[in-house]
Structure formats: structure tokens, C-alpha cells
């Protein structure tokens, strides 16, 4: 149950270095086809978010028990485990989406760049712009594609038409949807196919340029081709974003994520580099799950 120890940079690390690092990564730009282990030495070594001794309650029921995890910047962290064991609940604690459910309670700390996001006076709107989310069931608004993608920017206060158009275009390009919709930006998003709607939701989340993207089984409702496209997309996004993804599909987790956490009954049984989880798990329960003996 020990999380992989990152080489956390000293707290005196200033933002400029990581920004430069981000720029370096973007300009070097090529997608790596190398297996996850080799990724360890590319990109940032910073811990973007960390969770310390998290207990989460629905009413009286303890849903998450003593969870400790570090989410590494610019990497993909996957959460696997049988259904109903808390993966989605955990994901939602990272952007405080559980706040809207009545009678929930949280103990422990969730840190974003060193700040506990559950303390008083945190502006939830700002938090959610920095930690974005893509839902399992795509839920574009009954508005045009453009309005959907621009929504987060508008509520954030951006009014300038040209800036909006630029950012919408960039977000749709990053979501690999631009070519398909460039001529019908102002038609309803609900007329697109399932896979396209999900990519609109991804573009929508990307438009506000969050630092972390949370994805709750983003491809579970899609056909294999759309799923492949989305997996490709996620690999591309890694360069600029930190990604946490919940998935039922173990092959997907093995392919896509750098680090994997195995959740069972609300606890993190094991958290390690993905290659270790799948080829050399330390806990028997993990081994049973990844070899298909249950779940």
C-alpha cells in the first residue's frame, strides 16, 4: 500500500521553472510510443496533487478509507478496481464535486500544489477551473457546439469574441474534433454522434485550460473506434496536462496510464507504476484482480 515516492522538488521551486519545463515539453512535441516505464524520466517530477489520510462518508457510511496518493504532474494516473469500490467517489473529491451531494463528509487533506482545497474560503469556481472534469456519460448542453466549448470561458469572465473563437478552435483541435465540426460550430451539439459528443465535452473541459483533468470512464459508453481515438487523445494531452482517469477496462489502464492505483472496497490496496502493478504486483488481491480472477 505504499505510494511510489516521487522525487518531489523542493518547495522553493518557483513556477517559472515548471512553466519553462512545460514549454520545453510542448516544443519538443512528438508523441512518445515508448512504454510507461521509460516515461518516468521525461516531463515533470513534481507532485501536482496529493491526498493524505482521506476518509469520505456518505451519511454514516464510510466510502473511502485512509487513502494516500500522489498525482504526478504531466503523467496519467489510472484508478482501477471492481465497480462500486469508490473510484468515482475518489475522483470527485479532487475537484470537490461531492460537495453538491447532501450529507457527505470528508476527513484528511487534498492538496493542489501544496494548498489544501478543503479549507475555508476556497473559491470552488476557481478550483474547478484548475481541476477540470470529463464525465462518464457525455452531457453536452442543449446549445451549439461553439456555445458548449465556450461555456467555461464565459462563466469565467472572458467576453472578447476573438479570444473566445481562438480558444474554442484550439480546444477543439486539442480534442481532435476541429476538422469534423469546423463548418457547423453553431449547430446543436446534440446532433453529433456519441463519440463526437464526448469529444465536445473534452474540448469543453480543455477550453478553460485546467491544470489537471479528471476523467471518469470517458470511453465506457463508446464504440471501439471512438474509444481508440479518445485513448490517443489522452496520450497527447499528457504533455500539457496532469490526468487522472478512472477506468473499468484493465487493458486500457495498462496501455494508457503511467501510474495505477488499485481500489478495493474504498481502500487503495496498491499504488505503483503501471508496469509493476500489472507484471509484478506486491499484493495478492491486486494480482487476483489484474489476472481476472475476480471483478
Amino acid at each position: 500500500m505504499k505510494p511510489a515516492k516521487d522525487k518531489v522538488m523542493s518547495t522553493a521551486e518557483d513556477e517559472k521553472e515548471s512553466t519553462d519545463m512545460l514549454e520545453e515539453q510542448r516544443s519538443s512535441g512528438e508523441k512518445t510510443g515508448m512504454p510507461p516505464t521509460a516515461e518516468k524520466n521525461r516531463g515533470s517530477d513534481r507532485t501536482k496533487m496529493s491526498v493524505e489520510h482521506l476518509n469520505f462518508y456518505y451519511g454514516e457510511t464510510l466510502a473511502l478509507k485512509d487513502v494516500n496518493l500522489s498525482i504526478r504532474e504531466n503523467h496519467i494516473t489510472g484508478l482501477i478496481g471492481p465497480s462500486g469500490c469508490g473510484k468515482s467517489t475518489f475522483l470527485r473529491t479532487l475537484n470537490r464535486m461531492n460537495d453538491i451531494i447532501p450529507r457527505t463528509r470528508l476527513e484528511g487533506r487534498v492538496l493542489l500544489d501544496g494548498t489544501d482545497i478543503y479549507q475555508q474560503n476556497i473559491d470552488l469556481s476557481v478550483l474547478r477551473r484548475r481541476v477540470g472534469m470529463v464525465f462518464q456519460k457525455s452531457n453536452p448542453f442543449p446549445k451549439s457546439i461553439f456555445e458548449n466549448v465556450a461555456y467555461g470561458l464565459k462563466v469565467g469572465g472572458l467576453r472578447d469574441r476573438t479570444a473566445l473563437e481562438e480558444k474554442v478552435e484550439k480546444a477543439l483541435k486539442d480534442a481532435a474534433l476541429w476538422d469534423e465540426v469546423r463548418d457547423k460550430l453553431h449547430t446543436s451539439a446534440l446532433q453529433l454522434s456519441g463519440g463526437q459528443q464526448q469529444r465536445v465535452c473534452i474540448a469543453r473541459a480543455l477550453a478553460i485550460q485546467p491544470e489537471v483533468i479528471l476523467m471518469d470512464e470517458p470511453a465506457s459508453a463508446l464504440d471501439p473506434i471512438s474509444t481508440a481515438k479518445i485513448e490517443e487523445l489522452i496520450q497527447d494531452l499528457k504533455k500539457d496536462y496532469t490526468i487522472v482517469i478512472v477506468t473499468h477496462n484493465m487493458q486500457q489502464a495498462a496501455r494508457a496510464s503511467d501510474y495505477t492505483a488499485f481500489f478495493l472496497l474504498g481502500e487503495v490496496v496498491e499504488f505503483d507504476e503501471t508496469s509493476n502493478i500489472f507484471t509484478n504486483p506486491k499484493d495478492k488481491r491486486t494480482e487476483d484482480y489484474v489476472t481476472g480472477r475476480f471483478g
Binding site: M133, F135, Y151, G152
Partner: protein, 306 residues
């Protein structure tokens, strides 16, 4: 013997079903009777002149334009007051109030009771509260005793009607808000929207058809009620149209009432009377049909989206 029992059952069934069909038929027949009688006796009056002229010769000739104008003005003022109030109340109940909130329960009890208050009691309320208390208060404290607002006026009548139709708007709006999928609200919050931004940009626009239905039903109700306006501003014959908020006004329903019960020449005014009733009936029917249509289109759209 089973054969005989079976036969008796079938006869009983025939009678039972027949009675229920008969009851339904009677109801429909009565509706046809009422509407038919009014249409038959009133349709000849529906000329262009009827709609644009004022009454002449002691209500035995001319038109009913002032009553139409007064009704429209009354209902317009009422709508301006009741729709924002009703929508915001429904928004509070559905979007802000916690599930076990005592305030929310109190509001719902109040709304339920408001819906059951007899219309004449609203008239008494309008008289005692709006005219004497508020209007009289304005006259006493702001105008130094001049009698300008402490008397029957279109503003008081429309506010009285607004209180009467408030439950209609609240119930329809809540229904519309309930139909907005929670997915949309979650998506908006996850993108950094605040609660009010979510309501303003996503929830309310999606509820517009339902809110419209409620407003139309409120208008139809308000145009038909007479008891609340009898003592709060309606008048039988006025030589002027209401142009100020403290003017009195003529109104279709009130006109019908007075003409039917206090006209010196009932046979002479019968044609005009029937024509006026027909106009009011057409007005309320059209509004109700419109609301029914919008509502069924909403239901079809919801079924398609599923």
C-alpha cells in the same frame, strides 16, 4: 351453471362500462351545450365594429372595445408582477432549498393554501390591504390626505389577481425545473460555473417552455376572474380608458356580470351580452389550448431526448 354465471357477469360488465361511458358522454355533452349555445347566439356579434367601438345606447349597441382594452391592461400588469415572483419562488424551492428545509415546507404549504382561497376573499383582501392599507397609506403619508390611491384602481386589481394566480406560475415553473437533467447542472459546476450562473445560463433557458405554459394559464385565469376585481377597480361604464395606474377600468368578465344581472333592458342587451361572453370564452379557450399545445410539445421533446 358456469355458463349462466358467466353471462350474468358479462351483463353486469356491460352495464358498468356503459355507465362510465355515459358519464363521460354527459360531461362532454354539457361542454358542447354551453359552448354551442354561446357560439350560436353570439357569433353574429363578432364584427370588426364590435371589437373597436365603445358601448352605445345603454349597452344595446356598439362594441366592447373598452372592456377588451381594460382586460388586456389588467392582465398585462398582473403578468409583470406574478411571473418574476413565481419563477423566483420556484427557483428557490427547487435549486436552493435543502431537502428538509423548514422554510421550503412552509412556502409550499402557503402556496397550496393560496390556491384554495375563495375568489371573493381575494376581493376582500384587495380592498382591505391594497386599497385601504397601502393605498390609504400612500395618500395619508405621501400625498397629505389627497384621495388618489386609496380607492379602486387598476394597479390594485392587478396585484390582487397576481396573488391569486401565483400558485399557478409556481407549480408550472417547478415542474419545468424538475425536468432539467441534473447532468447539465453538474457539467456547469464542473466547468467553474457558480450556482447562479448555472441557473441563469443553463437551467432557466431550458425551462422557458414550461414557464411559458404557466404564464399562459395564469393569464387565462386572471382574465376570467370577476370577484377579486369587483371592488378593487372594475367599473361598468367609464367614459375613458385606463391610462394611469390609479384609473378604474372596464373589463370583460365584470361587464358580463353587470349586464346579465343589472341591465334594465335584458332582452335588448342580450345580443351584446352573448357577443361579450363569446369573446371572453374564445380568449380563455385560445389561451388554454396554447398552453396544452406547448405542454404536449415539451413532453414529446422529452421523450425524444431519452
Amino acid at each position: 351453471m358456469m355458463q349462466m354465471a358467466r353471462g350474468a357477469i358479462h351483463i353486469k360488465g356491460f352495464v358498468f362500462k356503459g355507465l362510465t361511458i355515459a358519464a363521460t358522454a354527459v360531461i362532454v355533452a354539457m361542454l358542447v351545450l354551453v359552448v354551442g349555445n354561446i357560439v350560436l347566439n353570439g357569433h353574429q356579434q363578432l364584427s370588426w365594429g364590435f371589437f373597436v367601438k365603445a358601448p352605445e345606447m345603454g349597452m344595446t349597441a356598439g362594441g366592447i372595445f373598452p372592456a377588451i382594452f381594460g382586460t388586456v391592461a389588467l392582465v398585462l400588469l398582473m403578468t409583470i408582477a406574478v411571473v418574476p415572483l413565481g419563477v423566483l419562488t420556484a427557483v428557490y424551492l427547487h435549486e436552493y432549498a435543502k431537502p428538509d428545509s423548514r422554510v421550503a415546507r412552509l412556502i409550499r404549504v402557503a402556496v397550496g393554501n393560496l390556491a384554495g382561497v375563495p375568489s371573493i376573499v381575494f376581493g376582500l383582501f384587495g380592498l382591505g390591504f391594497f386599497i385601504h392599507f397601502i393605498g390609504g397609506g400612500i395618500d395619508k403619508f405621501l400625498l397629505g390626505g389627497e384621495v388618489a390611491w386609496g380607492q379602486p384602481a387598476i394597479i390594485w386589481a392587478s396585484l390582487t389577481l397576481a396573488v391569486l394566480t401565483l400558485p399557478v406560475v409556481i407549480v408550472s415553473t417547478e415542474e419545468a425545473l424538475r425536468a432539467v437533467p441534473d447532468d447539465y447542472r453538474e457539467a456547469s459546476l464542473a466547468l467553474g460555473g457558480t450556482k447562479w450562473q448555472t441557473i441563469r445560463k443553463i437551467v432557466l433557458p431550458h425551462s422557458v417552455p414550461g414557464i411559458l405554459t404557466g404564464s399562459i394559464l395564469a393569464v387565462s385565469r386572471g382574465a376570467g376572474e370577476v370577484a377579486p376585481i369587483m371592488f378593487t377597480g372594475a367599473a361598468y361604464f367609464l367614459p375613458y380608458l385606463p391610462t394611469k395606474l390609479n384609473d378604474q377600468f372596464m373589463e370583460l368578465g365584470y361587464h358580463i356580470f353587470v349586464m346579465s344581472t343589472q341591465s334594465p333592458d335584458i332582452e335588448g342587451t342580450k345580443p351584446i351580452l352573448y357577443g361579450t361572453v363569446l369573446v371572453l370564452l374564445i380568449l380563455t379557450f385560445v389561451l388554454n389550448l396554447l398552453a396544452i399545445l406547448i405542454r404536449s410539445r415539451i413532453r414529446m421533446a422529452q421523450r425524444r431526448a431519452r
